[in-house]
């Protein structure tokens, strides 16, 4: 039996029934990774020894008859922008190629407390800026469904690892779609929680007012389990929300009867891949057949979301990334004086996309331009939020495509930043509004997975997961794993 193919809840059952050990599960995932990761390249750093050691402690607990958490002994991976004490945290940047944090992120701590097994740190677009992992300072991760294609980004390593069986679950971060896009492209479930639901302490900041950590999993139940383990108020993050974390797995089966689904007209954009659109529309029809009610809605400010995002996110990034100057940590370039040292350090340490966004953001905040760009973007952001507030008075959730196309080919868009930015057109408004959204597989187009996005109001994670679960259980997408051409 290939243990790496199972879901966390299935493995948890086997563990508690003592059919398998956590060490066996971990070994299965590690062996799978040995085989697949030469092709997929999900990991920047692998932590096999620590993973096996943790698995062993879980087995000992089970042997002693202790109750263990649903994630205990279950191998998962962290995006390499979440701090791990003593383990390199690179953000896929040459700037932090050798950075070893002296502290754990809150999510890292919580997962350790849940006895989760961490098998490594996954690849991303440098500092989470990108939609394909092609902006990684080290290498590009491949889509397990077609290794000529990208896994999506920026959390592409975390998405690909789960799809390829190199991890049972993983964490990503989502600033403009960075969890949902790889989830869609890799045919798995990915959730961006409400802004503030999961502590950002220890997540290396890209755009502070938009960044949010969330789970990847191979089904909705696992996604719900991971969210339950990482969510909650954290006094170290002033923007985290004082609201109890639910057992999100508890009421997954309540169904969609009477549920009001909003279909936002503006998310079905021109230039959308036709079979992606038909896949989404068919899925919505199915939900209606299961008892949901469909309401067409309009969110007129959606068209401004992309521009708004690229002003706010880059402005915050230009400031957040100021600390990488070669003084206290990270790459230091040679220079005869402090200014030339700064310049060399940053020119050598940052890749082109990071430099582009820093310059864009610096410009947007500059005196004389602030009002026209940054301030106006903040105002439009408020309008976009109001669009959401308004529609959620009428509907329970919104359904939209996660991305306008399926996974594109490596190299296809890397020379055209604007075409790349367009991949996030359906996910970005959600980050601006701070609401939760989940992507789950809803079909295939030309053999590539299509992602459907379910969006809800603030702190509606439970509702979103229920809708997703209902849809998922009526299909078998979650039972299919990517057949990796070179391996399987």
């Amino acid at each position: 039996m290939d243990l790496f193919r199972l879901k966390a809840h299935e493995l948890h059952e086997k563990l508690t029934r003592r059919e398998v050990s956590a060490v066996e599960i971990t070994q299965s995932v590690l062996a799978r990774t040995d085989k697949t990761d030469t092709v997929i390249r999900s990991f920047i750093t692998r932590t096999q020894d620590a993973a096996l050691a943790k698995a062993k402690t879980v087995d000992e607990k089970i042997a002693r008859g202790e109750a263990v958490s649903p994630l205990a002994g279950i191998p998962g991976a962290l995006k390499d922008n979440m701090c791990t004490n003593g383990v390199k945290t690179t953000c896929a940047s040459k700037m932090l190629a050798n950075f070893i944090p002296p502290y754990d992120a809150t999510v890292t701590e919580k997962l350790a407390a849940a006895d989760a097994v961490i098998v490594g740190k996954t690849n991303l677009d440098e500092f989470a800026m990108g939609s394909s992992t092609e902006n990684s300072g080290f290498f590009t991760t491949r889509n397990p469904w077609d290794t000529d294609r990208v896994p999506g980004g920026s959390s592409g390593g975390s998405g690909a690892a789960v799809a390829a069986g190199e991890a049972i679950w993983s964490l990503g971060s989502d600033t403009g779609g960075s969890i949902r896009l790889p989830a869609a492209y890799c045919g798995i479930v990915g959730l961006k929680p409400t802004y503030g639901r999961v502590s950002r302490y220890g997540l290396v900041a890209y755009a502070s007012s938009l960044d949010q950590i969330g789970p990847f999993a191979r089904d909705v139940r696992d996604c719900a389990t991971v969210l339950g383990a990482i969510g909650g108020y954290d006094r170290r993050d002033s923007t985290s929300i004082h609201s109890p974390v639910l057992d999100y797995t508890k009421n997954l089966g309540v169904g969609v009867k009477g549920l009001k689904i909003g279909l936002p007209r503006e998310y079905f954009v021109a230039g959308m891949q036709p079979d992606v659109e038909s896949s989404i529309r068919r899925s919505i029809d199915e939900l209606v057949a299961m008892g949901a009610e469909l309401v067409e809605v309009s969110m007129p400010n959606t068209q401004y979301a992309l521009a708004t995002y690229y002003l706010i996110a880059t402005a915050e990034a230009s400031s957040n990334l100021g600390r990488y100057d070669g003084v206290g940590f990270g790459h230091r370039g040679e220079g005869n004086d402090i200014v030339s040292m700064y310049k060399r350090s940053r020119a050598e340490g940052f890749g082109p996309e990071v430099q582009r966004r820093i310059m864009l953001g610096t410009y947007a905040l500059s005196s004389g331009y602030y009002d026209a760009y940054y301030l106006k973007a903040l105002k439009v952001r408020t309008l976009i939020k109001q669009d959401f507030d308004r529609v959620f008075e009428k509907v329970d959730v919104l359904i939209a495509p996660t991305a306008p196309t399926t996974a594109f080919k490596v190299g296809e868009k890397i020379e055209d930043p604007l075409a790349m930015y367009l991949m996030d057109v359906c996910t970005i408004p959600i980050n601006l509004a701070g609401v939760p959204a989940l992507s789950l597989p809803c079909g295939f187009a030309d053999g590539l997975p299509v992602g459907m996005q379910i969006i809800g109001p603030h702190l509606s994670e439970e509702k979103i997961l229920q809708v997703a679960y209902t849809f998922e259980q009526a299909h078998d997408y979650h039972k299919q794993m990517a057949p990796i051409r070179e391996v399987d």
Binding site: Y103, Y201, A205, S319, R323, S366
Partner: protein
């Protein structure tokens, strides 16, 4: 042309909270380099700030003491600039919505009271300290000490209401006095816990529009602020009188040479790209909390001064000196509480006590003579047990030996001789032994009496009651 000077001051004061503004590190001064640090104040990747509530409380306390409006809604902003003592390369500060606005304080110059407006008070974090290998311009490298990084600061900005360097000094003294009264800062300029930047410009008398200003930095004492402003006032007057133009710039004060020097040209002003700090939530201040703080505020120097003048009849000058620092005023109140007479207590405090404290570089809080002991001594003078002159040497012994006045007087046999019979016979003996002086006196030389008093004092080792000696002597000499 006659010019008028316009001065505005920006005061930075370090708050004496136990921990830093956004993390739990200690704010203690000194300490081995880079030991009072953590991932948050070092600005490591991934960290987030959390506002220390004490900082907010201290800011509100300061705002109330400076008669400011406390903003019900305020926020933090990032001030972006690159400097190696700033680990994140931005300073978390307050820009357009500071915690306090629109206050004032009254200063006293040449016996006149003047009101100086306070534009704003805002919270921010301090930067670290650079240690250069050599001078700033030729050192091969610099080292950074981050202990001070994240220590909470308040910036207090005055309106351009100050007209003379002397007023500037009085304003700073008043600020210092208030901040230490309300116990939010140590205000030690030498440790950098109080720093001042001064803006100064000149304009023709009668003109409303402000002239071009210079900003003076690096001034390390109140005296230096006054000197730097005097120098700058003269410099600008000269430039303008010769038909020249003042350049808007930052100037540094060179204390040893007594001049201000151009530092950098503000016309290519730095763009700090302020924007709202996304990692902190806006600060909502509950008015009832402000009221609680207001009620708990100690008596401020001005009120204390008025009270002392009214209740104890001290002169404005004496009251000012005594209330300039809270520990001094507390000492004074303790003297009175122990029964000392108000005027005498003031004289001793401003005289012998201050003299001794200064000589030993001591703060009144470490005064070796407790108020109760000094009050006892003052009472002994009142009663005539010791003379004022003897009291000085008693005080000396109290200072060095720490004993009570009564004990010292007994031990050293210093009780004043006030027995008329006893003194009378000593006076007679001295008169008998000094025929020349007696003859001089009888010849109308009043001065001769001084010699005789001296003789009597010598024989009594200074213990004779001087008033009594004078009276008896005159009686005996004139035969009345």
């Amino acid at each position: 042309m006659q010019f008028e000077t316009v001065i505005g001051l920006e005061v930075h004061t370090e708050l004496k909270t136990a921990s830093k503004i956004f993390c739990g590190c200690t704010t203690e001064f000194g300490g081995e380099q880079n030991t009072h640090v953590c991932p948050v104040c070092l600005g490591l990747p991934g960290v987030l700030p959390v506002l220390n509530e004490k900082v907010l409380e201290f800011a509100v306390r300061t705002g109330i003491a400076l008669n400011c409006k406390i903003s019900p809604y305020s926020k933090f902003d990032r001030k972006n600039y690159y400097y190696p003592d700033l680990p994140k390369n931005f300073q978390t500060s307050q820009y357009d919505l500071p915690i306090c606005e629109g206050g004032y304080l009254d200063i006293e110059v040449n016996g006149e009271t003047k009101r100086i407006g306070i534009t704003r008070v805002h919270m921010e974090e301090d930067a670290g300290k650079l240690i250069h290998a050599g001078t700033i311009s030729n050192s091969e490298y610099a080292l950074v000490d981050y202990n001070r990084t994240g220590v909470p600061l308040l910036e207090i900005v005055s309106e351009p209401d100050i007209r003379t360097p002397e007023e500037a000094k009085a304003y700073l003294e008043k600020i210092k006095s208030i901040l230490s009264y309300i116990d939010v800062s140590d205000c030690k300029m030498e440790e950098g816990s109080l720093r001042c930047d001064a803006n100064i410009s000149l304009r023709p008398i009668g003109q409303e529009k402000l002239g071009t200003k210079a900003e003076i930095k690096n001034v390390n004492s109140f005296k230096a602020v006054q000197r730097a402003l005097e120098y700058e006032q003269e410099r600008q007057d000269e430039v303008l009188s010769e038909g020249g133009r003042i350049i808007q710039e930052t100037r540094t004060w060179d204390d040893s040479r007594g001049v201000t020097l151009s530092m950098r040209n503000k016309e290519q002003a730095q763009d700090y790209r302020y924007f709202p700090e996304p990692d902190l939530v806006p600060i909502i201040v509950d008015p009832s909390w402000v009221e609680t703080i207001r009620r708990a505020l100690p008596e401020l120097p001005e009120a204390r001064k008025q009270r002392i003048m009214k209740n104890h009849g001290l002169s404005p000058y004496d009251a000012d000196v005594i209330t300039a620092s809270r520990p001094m005023a507390d000492y004074y109140d303790a003297l009175l509480a122990a029964g000392a007479e108000a005027k005498a207590a003031a004289n001793w405090l401003m005289g012998e006590v201050s003299k001794h404290l200064n000589a030993c570089s001591l703060d009144i809080r470490s005064c070796p003579v407790p108020p109760a002991n000094l009050a006892e001594m003052i009472a002994l003078i009142e009663k005539g047990t010791i003379s004022g002159k003897i009291a000085k040497s008693v005080f000396e012994s109290m200072w060095t030996e720490g004993k009570a006045a009564g004990v010292i007087i007994k031990e050293q046999g210093l009780v004043q001789m006030s027995d008329e019979g006893e003194l009378g016979s000593i006076v007679e003996a001295v008169i008998a032994a000094s025929p020349q002086s007696v003859a001089d006196f009888n010849a109308g030389k009043e001065k001769a009496i001084g010699f005789l008093v001296g003789q009597i004092m010598r024989q009594t080792k200074g213990r004779a009651n001087p008033e009594l000696v004078n009276r008896i002597l005159k009686e005996k000499l004139t035969g009345k």
